[in-house]
Amino acid sequence: MNLHSILSILVFSPLLGIIVLAIIPKAQEKAIKAVGFLATLPALLLSLAVYAHFLAGKNLSDFSVSVPWIQFRGINVQEPIFSVYYELGINGFQLLMVVLTSVISTLAAIGACKFIKKEWKGYFMLFLLLVTGMLGVFTAENLILFFIFFEVTLIPTFFLIGKWGYFEKEKAAYSFLIYNGLGSAVLLIVIMVLFAKTGTTNIEMLKQMVADPQLFKGGFKLGLFIALLVAFGVKLPIFPLHSWMLRVHVQAPPSVVMIHSGILLKIGAYGLIRFGMGIFPQQFEKLATLIAILGVINLLYGAFLAFIQTDFKMVLAYSSISHMGIVLIGLAAMNEAGIQGAIFQAVSHGLISALLFFLVGVLYERTDTSLIENLGGLAKGMPLAAGFLLAGAMASLGLPGMSGFVSEFMAFLGLFKVQPWIAAVGTIGIIMTAAYLLRAVLGMTYGKAHREFDGVLDLRGVELVPVFVLMALIVLIGVYPSVLSSPLQATLETIMLGLGG
């Protein structure tokens, strides 16, 4: 097979599932679920194959594809100015995100088979569209293509939340749409300004052209970078742009939150690293202190608020905010350790939050509640679920041997080199993370049972697959972080080159 077409197949393979689903009658629940699940597999297998390709020591650029696509005419007759290429590509960082996406998508599809109780057909069609969007986001090599895939994720997510969510689903869907719409609007401004000024949106070319002081003045670039920060800050989310995310985490169905918290939030981190740092390295440097402070605020704000929540979903939602603070902290360090920590954190949090939300989904399905108080003593009725919940919490609070630690450690390692004081304040977050997670998880699993757990089934059958896979990956990364760090080295070098260090 031609290597150049692999990425396209990888990205668009879920669409095949949509087509198949379209011809399956609504009532055939089993077939729909099967197709929905199977349609995520090609992407998974291909992404693993790409990873294997990398492990075999071959070049990831083998996969890049670039075909002329749109020529915006009328501005300038010279080619290739103002033309947009259909260009997909993959580097180490993108590879990780793609693998993460495909893994979590497959698991979320399994989750959906369990958690979604109605209209599977519509659900899986939207879900697969979402998967395509996410895969595209991480493989797009130019900003317009990136933006297109970025927006493609918005609409299915809106519907997935609004239709299959819990009580206040529509409100959550709207606030998702509006916040992210605003974020992407700001992003679009940046993209179009860059496009209009340079005539290209290819990221590599932009890196060089934006560095040209003739084309862009410093202050102007700073403005663009701040806009970018805001755009991805909504997605990440950065305080105070976070309130939409709480609603989504609480109201969306668990299988969607797995995707949302696991991958969609990471687009923010991805964008900040790839575009913020890649295209505007000097500006990033200028604002590094601010970003570090924002990171610490995020970390602490999320942690403190998670500490007093009564709904476990809210705890996890705030914990996501808190953990995304670590991403910012790592990025603000502007050194290898910090950036690698940030990327690790993105991947690690993706896995951990997917695991935790899957478990929440199971709990909710069995007990119709996610209130900590109502779940007390769960370990008696659902020992396996409780055990994994605890393990997930441990991973989340940065227990060594699990992925959370490596990321947290590197992020702080990086920041302590440049901003020891801010980092020192940030470490309070480490303590608080332990405090709120244990409070919540022990509150749910330990202690006297507040209710009968008769007839409440523990994890079983196919539910164990996502749990085991995620746990295994979390531990794998924790024990042998090189699985992530080795693909990253080349990417890091490029970033560091851009930062001039």
Partner: protein, 621 residues
């Protein structure tokens, strides 16, 4: 020694086996755990003996690459590590064995063994780590093992609270360690112990930095070893099953703090301030915990406070540059304190209560446990001839020679108190009349007593490896090739030994008079100082203090943030949407349905544009 890396893996294997198929093995799980820890023990002994004759061994591989930084993982066998391997695997093996009897009948028997395996793995991994990062990793893992085991009786609210408290309090310390470690890394560009020491020795690190990092790392040790002011979790941790207390909260994990300071000893010696801090905290903890121990009525809590106090001793030793003394006491303490806990467990197993006021007169019924408990008590009290005597003496000498007379005095008083409350415990449990409801009290099975016997022997003889009389074999071996660790044996004036003996005997005598012979009323102390007694009984109100300050602050701050979240952040959002909606409403209202208004608006628009044009100089230009 090349295969020392296998030692931690056996318990890990046990953990994994039991997690996966433990449910089917049921109580046969114990054999898995016992056999695999036995394997660790055998290897540890081999390694220890090998280390007597061979130099240290270090192996490492690349663990994580960050740009040009290569973080390694691996293992190292040096004197301290080999000794610790032996202590840990021995105690762990004994506790594994003991638990087979103690935990008999528990429905989560296999889980218990699995957790024990996890903990043992982590602890063994901790002691063979060649770099501080790896130490930190296992440091946290032992914390988790401890957390899981404290919370083993998860359905008890107290256990839940204790587990949580243990985890969070130690984590506070851990963050100190983490910061210290990272700062040290950026100073020395390495996590390797040897490279850190080289850098410190070469003067590559400023004095302030050394002091700062050393103290930060010491905070980690404070958390783990239950030193003042982070000690409160350790007594609460007694909610776990008693074998756990013996293994984790007496012999191994809590000693990890001492081990850490010992392992980084060259760093600490490079800073006077750091050493003084260590010594002071150690000294304060020693007397502070001992004083609380005076009035406790829970058998395990008395032992817990005694542990805290003894750990303070070790810190005092290390802080007084008495490296050998500290490590020596660490070893002897591991044996006699494990013995005491196991014996206490045996007592609890027999009488099903932990309240010493409901015990009494058990000497006759527990024919084996009682003498073993006495041995432990004698050893900890520092009665000459037993292991505790020698190590405690070393510490007192170190403190005196280290130039800390005040701390020396504190240590001496603490020694008196130790002797007093330990014998108070002994007399109340084993002598006198039977109190409370004791039914079918009988001796524990041999699977429980045999480990105690072995520990009893060690509690007696372990001291002789390093004595002023028969040569300081342990000391010589420990500091061999490492001048930075100080002298193998500190000579001190002979009166110190006598003073120590006198003090401990005095303590025993007083305890005898009050609780044994009952010639002095038990409320003699409390009667005299009512307030003092209340204060001691409430553990100096430390928990309450924390609740009122830290916990209240965190909660209050959280609610403040929630206020901000709900009203400020959401409020702004609501405001913006409100403005947009309001605009919409206004615009919608203007759409009055009157067609003439529409025309008027259009004309008005035109007029405004014209006026603006005129005003901005269109006409006058």
């Amino acid at each position: 020694m090349e295969n020392a890396w296998l030692i931690p893996l056996f318990p890990l294997l046990s953990f994994m086996i039991l997690l996966l198929i433990g449910k089917r093995l049921r109580e046969a799980s114990a054999y898995v755990g016992i056999l695999l820890t036995l394997a660790s023990l055998v290897f540890s002994i081999l390694v220890l003996f090998e280390r007597f004759s061979e130099p240290s061994y270090l192996a490492k591989f690349n663990w994580l690459t960050i740009g040009d930084l290569h973080l390694t993982a691996g293992f190292e066998v040096n004197q301290l590590n080999a000794l610790m391997l032996f202590i840990v695997s021995l105690v762990s093996f004994l506790v594994h064995t003991y638990s087979k009897g103690y935990m008999h009948g528990d429905e989560r028997f296999h889980i218990f063994y699995a957790y024990l395996g996890l903990f043992t793995f982590a602890m063994l991994g901790l002691v063979i780590s060649p770099n501080i990062l790896q130490t930190y990793i296992f440091w946290e893992l032992v914390g988790v093992g401890s957390f899981l085991l404290i919370g083993f009786y998860y359905y008890k609210e107290e256990a839940k609270a204790a587990a949580k408290k243990a985890f969070i309090m130690t984590r506070i310390g851990d963050v100190g360690l983490l910061i210290g470690m990272i700062l040290l890394f950026w100073q020395t560009k390495s996590f390797e112990y040897s490279e850190i020491f080289n850098a410190v020795e070469a003067g590559g690190v400023s004095n302030t930095m050394i002091t700062l990092t050393a103290i930060l790392i010491f905070i980690g040790a404070v958390g783990k070893s239950g030193q003042f002011p982070l000690h409160t979790w350790l007594p609460d941790a007694m909610e776990g099953p008693t074998p756990v207390s013996a293994l984790i909260h007496a012999a191994t994990m809590v000693a990890a703090g001492v081990y850490l300071v010992a392992a980084l000893f060259p760093l600490f010696t490079a800073s006077k301030t750091a050493l003084l801090t260590v010594a002071t905290i150690g000294g304060i903890t020693a007397i502070f915990a001992a004083s609380i121990g005076l009035v406790q009525t829970d058998i395990k809590r008395v032992l817990a406070y005694s542990t805290v106090s003894q750990l303070g001793y070790m810190m005092l030793a290390l802080g007084s540059a008495g490296y050998v003394a500290g490590v020596f006491h660490l070893m002897t303490h591991a044996f006699f304190k494990a013995l005491l806990f196991l014996a206490a467990g045996s007592v609890i197993h027999a009488v099903h209560t932990q309240n010493i006021e409901e015990m009494g007169g058990l000497w006759k019924k527990l024919k084996l446990t009682a003498p073993l408990f006495l041995i432990g008590t004698l050893a900890i009290s520092g009665v000459p001839g037993l292991s505790g005597f020698f190590s405690k003496d070393e510490i007192l000498v170190a403190a005196w020679e280290g130039g800390h007379p005040v701390l020396f005095l504190l240590a001496l008083i603490a020694a008196f108190m130790t002797a007093f409350y330990m014998f108070r415990l002994f007399f109340m449990v084993f002598t006198g009349e039977k109190r409370g409801k004791q039914k079918d009290v009988h001796e524990s099975p041999s699977v429980m007593t045999m480990p105690m016997v072995l520990l009893g022997i060690l509690a007696v003889v372990a001291g002789y490896v390093n004595t002023p009389w028969f040569g300081s074999f342990l000391g010589d071996w420990l500091v061999d090739g490492n001048p930075a660790l100080g002298h193998s044996h500190i000579e001190g004036p002979a009166w110190i030994m006598i003073a120590a003996t006198v003090v401990s005997l005095a303590g025993i005598l007083l305890a005898y008079l009050i609780y044994g012979k009952r010639s002095i009323a038990p409320d003699w102390l409390s009667g005299k100082g009512d307030m003092l007694h209340t204060v001691l009984n409430n553990k100096y109100y430390i928990d309450e203090f924390y609740k009122l300050t830290v916990v209240a602050f965190v909660t209050g701050f959280s609610y403040l943030l929630r206020f901000i979240d709900v009203f400020l952040v959401e409020g702004i959002v609501k405001g913006v949407t409100g403005i947009v909606q309001g605009l919409g409403r206004t615009g919608s209202k203007m759409q009055s349905g009157q067609v003439q208004t529409y025309g008027a608006v259009a004309f008005l628009g035109l007029a405004v544009l014209v006026v603006i044009y005129a005003l901005t100089g269109g006409y006058l230009r």
